[in-house]
């Protein structure tokens, strides 16, 4: 190789060596290596996932078998109530609720033929 070509080769090698010597290059390499070495959190391991799934299934099962509120049919008309909420002002269905001290009341009116105009 000629002297000039050798000089250019050396300049080129110095150029790349200086680039590799930059701290951000080493830092990037270490970060990348560390990203492959980090173990996933214990919670994502199969045994932990299986335990969590069992717990969720048990919770859902016991929630499902809890007694639900029953409908109460009053023999007499309920006491006068003040309407607290009206879900539908128009249309064939009206729903309103009143949390009576003894019996919470939900009244649903259904007008099969719709409201008279």
């Amino acid at each position: 190789m000629s002297e000039g070509a050798e000089e250019i080769r050396q300049i080129y090698r110095n150029y790349l060596t200086e680039e590799l010597a930059k701290p951000e290059v080493s830092q990037a390499g270490k970060r990348l290596a560390a990203s492959f070495s980090v173990k996933p959190a214990v919670i994502f391991e199969p045994a932990s996932c299986a335990a969590l799934c069992l717990l969720a299934a048990a919770f859902f099962f016991f929630y499902q078998i809890q007694p639900r509120p029953r409908a109460v049919i009053l023999p007499d008309a309920p006491p006068p109530v003040m309407v607290k909420k009206v879900f539908s002002r128009t249309g064939s269905t009206m729903v309103y609720q009143k949390n009576h001290p003894d019996i919470p009341i939900t009244v649903i009116w259904v007008f099969p033929g719709g409201l008279a105009k």
């Binding site: 080129y12 680039e19 930059k22 990037a28 390499g29 560390a34 173990k39």
Partner: protein, 193 residues
């Protein structure tokens, strides 16, 4: 000759991520050097180096260890970098200055005395070299970095890039000639005392 990384690669193939992390530590700078040599841009080289190791991570199970790991890694690195450079090719170099086309060659007088002036000279030379490398194609820069920095043989480079040995030599000749044309006037000049 057995691959010096055989044990680590074997563990990595079997899913040992810590072993793969060690391979990254061993070879990151080599991969970065190839990426930077081809792309001539720091950020792009960092992104490409990361992509190379992600590819290797995905494919290592299929690596049959018939060749050395390093050789396989070289091939992935240089081809990924060239592919990346081709994607960016229609765009200007990210480091290119707007006034580059109008720039006249700068005569930098040579000064052998040590100290700040020498550092300034080296810094200018680096900038000139960087711009000179931008004028080469990624394929020419690939041959340059593999031969002039990684010291690979013509045969190794030809096999890696899937080209003829003659093509390797002609690309290298062209790249050296181009750099000499741009750099030589800037390296000359009178010595100052």
């Amino acid at each position: 000759m057995q691959d010096p990384d055989h044990a680590l690669v074997h563990d990595a193939k079997n899913g040992n991520q810590a072993a793969f992390g060690k391979l990254v530590n061993l070879y990151y700078k080599m991969v970065y050097a190839i990426a930077y040599g081809v792309l001539n841009h720091s950020e792009a080289a960092r992104d490409t180096a990361q992509e190379v190791f992600l590819k290797v991570f995905r494919e290592i199970r299929n690596f049959e260890q018939k060749s050395k790991f390093k050789t396989w890694l070289y091939r992935i690195a240089v081809n990924t970098a060239i592919d990346e450079a081709r994607k960016k090719r229609p765009l200007e170099s990210l480091d290119r200055r707007d006034d580059q086309d109008n720039e006249k060659p700068v005569f930098i007088p040579r000064d052998d005395s040590p100290g700040p002036r020498d550092l300034a000279y080296q810094s200018e030379l680096r900038e000139v070299l960087k711009r000179a490398l931008d004028e080469l194609s990624p394929e020419h820069r690939a041959v340059m970095v593999l031969r002039e920095f990684q010291d690979l043989s013509y045969e190794e480079i030809a096999e890696m890039l899937k080209i003829e040995i003659g093509t390797v030599m002609s690309r290298l000749f062209y790249a050296r000639k181009k750099l000499a044309e741009i750099l030589s006037p800037k390296m000359g000049g009178t010595k100052t005392r």
